[in-house]
């Protein structure tokens, strides 16, 4: 049973426009959420995170929104650039109940393609 779901395997966006990547989760114990970006043959790179006590976190062109009642989060990238083309993973952990070890549960990823 998938606890973190990314329902769009791929997304194509024009350069300069906004990219919106979505993620849903089912485990109500999750209290910390992260987005990672991954290029082929490399490890995932951390982008941005959000704690369940917040509903928004911003870092430069990247903003993550959390809607706890809907168990939904989204990553906004504005403006989108060619270098943003990659696979994006949503991840979650239950930090409080997990005792701080923070094993992450990942979605399957969304392949973002930025069109020139």
């Amino acid at each position: 049973d998938q606890q973190v779901k990314q329902n769009s395997p791929s997304l194509s966006v024009q350069e300069g426009r906004i990219s919106i990547l979505n993620c849903d989760y089912t485990n109500s114990m999750f209290d910390y959420f992260l987005w990672y970006k991954k290029y082929p043959a490399e490890g995932p790179t951390f982008l941005i995170s959000i704690s369940s006590i917040k509903d928004k976190n911003e870092d430069g062109r990247f903003t993550v929104f959390l809607n706890k009642s809907a168990k939904h989060l989204s990553l906004h990238i504005v403006p989108s650039q060619p270098g943003d083309s990659a696979v994006y993973f949503c991840a979650a952990s239950a930090r409080v109940s997990g005792g701080g070890a923070d094993g992450l549960t990942f979605g399957k990823g969304t392949h973002l393609i930025i069109q020139p």
Binding site: L34, F46, S49, A101, G103, L104, F106, G107
Partner: protein, 112 residues
Amino acid sequence: DAGITQSPRHKVTETGTPVTLRCHQTENHRYMYWYRQDPGHGLRLIHYSYGVKDTDKGEVSDGYSVSRSKTEDFLLTLESATSSQTSVYFCATSLGGDQPQHFGDGTRLSIL
């Protein structure tokens, strides 16, 4: 990233042979993790460590063991490799708390 080195980067071996993957970090992070990535599954947690000689199982731990005798090294062992363990393996480290996990570049393991 975060001074994480995985070795080897690529390995091809036969069913039934033992395999050990190594993760080495230079950041003195307390927590270390092993994940595997397979098509259609994202990354899944195999085992993790919360200190020297302190380890625990993750979601897909069957067929794997780990050891951590030093802060900087976390070893993943497949005692008798099977074809279902063909995958890309990622190591990650973290300071814990509000800090995210940082990943190595992976080991591509093929078991024939």
